[in-house]
C-alpha cells in the first residue's frame, strides 16, 4: 500500500499541470490580497459609518487580519474549483492514457489502488490549504501588519489581534475539511464519468450547486442541519463573538462522515466496474 501511495505522489508532482494549478492559486491569492487592501478602506468606512457620528477611532482596522478574513471569504469557491480539476485529473488522465489498464495488468489490488488515490487527494488538498494559509498569513502580516479585526456578523464584532489570529487559524482548518470533501467528491465523480471534460463539468456543477444551496434557507429543520451543502459554511461560526463549539464540532463530524460516504461509494463502484 505504501508503494501505491508513493507512486501516486510521485505521479502528481511529476506532472506540470499540478504546478500550473498551484501557480494559479497563489496568483489569485495575491490578487485578492491587494485588491482587498485597496477596497479595505471603503469597507471599513461603510461598517463604521453610523459610529463615526459619536466616536472617533484610534488605531487602524485595515491590517493583515482583515485582509486574511477577506481572502477567506473568497477562497472557498475558486480553491475547490481548481482542486477538483487537479484531483479528478489524477484518475481521468489514467483513463485517457489507458495507463489504468497497464496498472490493472500488474498484480495490484483494485481497491487499494483507488484508495491510495483518495488518500493522496486528501493529502494534497490539505497541503494546498496549508500553503495558502501560511502564505496569506505571511504576506498579509509582512505587508500590512497585525491589529484588531472587525467582522460584520449579526452585528459588529471586534476581535483583539491575538484572538483574531486564533479564529482565522480555526477557519482555515474548518475550510480545509470542506475542501477535502470537494476533492473526495470530484474523485468519485471521476470514477463515474471517467472522461476528463465531463468530470470537470459535473464537478463544477456540483460545486456551484452546493454554493447556491448554501444561501437558500430551508427553515429550522433537520434538513437544514444535515444537508452537506450547509456544512461548508462552518468556518463562519468562528466569527460570532462567542464560538458555538458544539455546532462546529457537530458540523465537522458530519462533514467528515460525508467524505467517508463519498469515498466509500467511489471505492465500491471502482472495484465493481470492469476496466476497459
Amino acid at each position: 500500500m505504501q508503494y501505491l501511495l508513493k507512486a501516486e505522489i510521485y505521479k502528481l508532482f511529476k506532472q506540470s499541470k499540478t504546478y500550473y494549478a498551484l501557480g494559479a492559486l497563489f496568483s489569485i491569492e495575491l490578487l485578492i490580497l491587494f485588491s482587498a487592501y485597496y477596497q479595505g478602506t471603503t469597507i471599513i468606512d461603510l461598517l463604521l459609518e453610523n459610529l463615526k457620528q459619536k466616536f472617533y477611532f484610534e488605531g487602524t482596522l485595515l491590517n493583515g487580519n482583515l485582509l486574511i478574513y477577506l481572502i477567506l471569504n473568497t477562497l472557498w469557491f475558486h480553491l475547490p474549483l481548481i482542486l477538483m480539476i487537479v484531483v479528478s485529473g489524477t484518475l481521468t488522465s489514467e483513463y485517457k492514457d489507458r495507463t489504468l489498464q497497464t496498472i490493472m495488468l500488474q498484480p495490484v489490488s483494485k481497491w487499494k489502488y483507488i484508495f491510495s488515490k483518495y488518500l493522496v487527494a486528501i493529502g494534497f488538498t490539505l497541503l494546498v490549504v496549508g500553503l495558502l494559509a501560511a502564505s496569506s498569513f505571511g504576506l498579509s502580516y509582512a505587508f500590512f501588519g497585525k491589529g484588531d479585526l472587525v467582522v460584520y456578523l449579526n452585528g459588529l464584532n471586534f476581535f483583539d489581534a491575538t484572538d483574531a489570529i486564533k479564529r482565522l487559524q480555526w477557519s482555515f482548518l474548518s475550510g480545509a475539511l470542506s475542501m477535502v470533501f470537494f476533492s473526495v467528491a470530484s474523485l468519485t465523480i471521476a470514477i463515474l464519468f471517467k472522461e476528463a471534460t465531463k468530470t470537470w463539468i459535473v464537478s463544477a456543477f456540483f460545486l456551484i450547486l452546493s454554493n447556491i444551496l448554501l444561501k437558500v434557507d430551508f427553515g429550522d429543520n433537520w434538513f437544514n442541519q444535515l444537508f452537506f451543502a450547509k456544512l461548508n459554511d462552518t468556518w463562519q461560526y468562528f466569527f460570532y463573538y462567542t464560538i458555538n463549539w458544539q455546532q462546529v464540532i457537530f458540523n465537522s463530524v458530519l462533514s467528515f462522515a460525508y467524505c467517508m460516504l463519498f469515498m466509500g461509494a467511489g471505492i465500491y463502484w471502482f472495484h465493481k466496474k470492469d476496466i476497459g
Binding site: I43, L46, L47, E49, N50, L51, Q53, K54, F55, Y56, F57, E58, G59, T60, L61, Y69, L70, N73, G147, D148, V150, V151, Y152, L153, N154, G155, L156, N157, F158, F159, D160, A161, D163, K215, D217, D233, Q236, F239, Y241
Partner: protein, 219 residues
C-alpha cells in the same frame, strides 16, 4: 463720603448682577479643575452597544490645559467624542449663562442641577445640564445636547471624597442601527433583517475606568 458710598453700593449691585450670570458652585468646581495643569491616565474601555461586540480595550489618555486631549493605544479603540473632557472647558469655552434648576436626587444623595446655555453661536452644544456635588465640589453627572452629534449623558464616579478627577465615567448615548449592504461579507442576511426593521434608534453606553493618574497641578 456720599459719592464713595454710592460708588460702593453700585459696585456691590454690579457684582451681584454679574454673579447672577454664573453659578457660584459651578465656578468653585471650575476653579478646582483649572488648577490641574496636566494629567495622564490609563483607560479601560468597555463598550455596551447592542449590535457591537468588543472586548475590553486599554488606552492611554493625556490632558494638558489649553490643549486637545490626546490618546494612544496598541489596539484599535473607539472613543466617544464627548465625555472625555473632565475639565468642563469644552462647555465653558464660549460665553454662556447658567440657570439653577434646584436639587435632583441620585441614589441616596442630592445634587445641584445647573443648566448651561451658550450664548455664543460658535458653541457646539445647545444646552447642558450638570449635577454638582456642592459639598465635595465636583461634577457628578452632565447631560449635553450637542448640535450635530446627538446627546450624551455622562455619569462620574469617584473612589474617594478628595478626588476631582473621576475614577469611572459612564457615557450614555443614542445610536442608530447600522445599515450594511447585503453583498458585503459573510453570513449577514437572515435574522438581521427582522431586527433591523424593529430597531430604529437605540441607546448604548461606554464605560471608562481610569487608573494610575499622574497629575500635575497648581498648588
Amino acid at each position: 463720603m456720599k459719592r464713595a458710598a454710592i460708588l460702593f453700593i453700585f459696585q456691590i449691585l454690579w457684582m451681584g448682577l454679574s454673579a447672577q450670570e454664573i453659578d457660584a458652585d459651578l465656578l468653585k468646581v471650575k476653579s478646582r479643575l483649572d488648577s490641574i495643569l496636566s494629567f495622564s491616565t490609563q483607560l479601560k474601555l468597555e463598550v455596551d452597544i447592542s449590535f457591537i461586540n468588543m472586548p475590553v480595550k486599554k488606552a492611554q489618555m493625556y490632558y494638558a490645559k489649553g490643549k486637545k486631549v490626546k490618546f494612544s493605544s496598541d489596539d484599535f479603540v473607539m472613543l466617544p467624542k464627548r465625555g472625555l473632557d473632565f475639565s468642563l472647558n469644552s462647555l465653558l469655552e464660549y460665553s454662556f449663562i447658567t440657570v439653577d434648576r434646584g436639587l435632583e436626587q441620585r441614589g441616596a444623595k442630592m445634587y445641584k442641577a445647573i443648566n448651561i446655555i451658550p450664548t455664543d453661536k460658535r458653541a457646539d452644544f445647545s444646552i447642558a445640564t450638570i449635577l454638582i456635588d456642592t459639598k465635595l465640589k465636583r461634577v457628578m453627572e452632565s447631560e449635553i445636547n450637542t448640535k450635530k452629534d446627538g446627546s450624551y449623558v455622562l455619569s462620574f464616579q469617584y473612589n474617594t471624597d478628595a478626588r476631582v478627577l473621576p475614577d469611572k465615567v459612564t457615557v450614555n448615548f443614542e445610536i442608530e442601527k447600522i445599515r450594511i449592504p447585503i453583498n458585503f461579507m459573510g453570513k449577514d442576511t437572515e435574522l438581521d433583517r427582522k431586527k433591523m426593521k424593529a430597531a430604529g434608534t437605540k441607546t448604548g453606553a461606554i464605560y471608562l475606568t481610569m487608573s494610575n493618574y499622574q497629575i500635575k497641578s497648581v498648588l
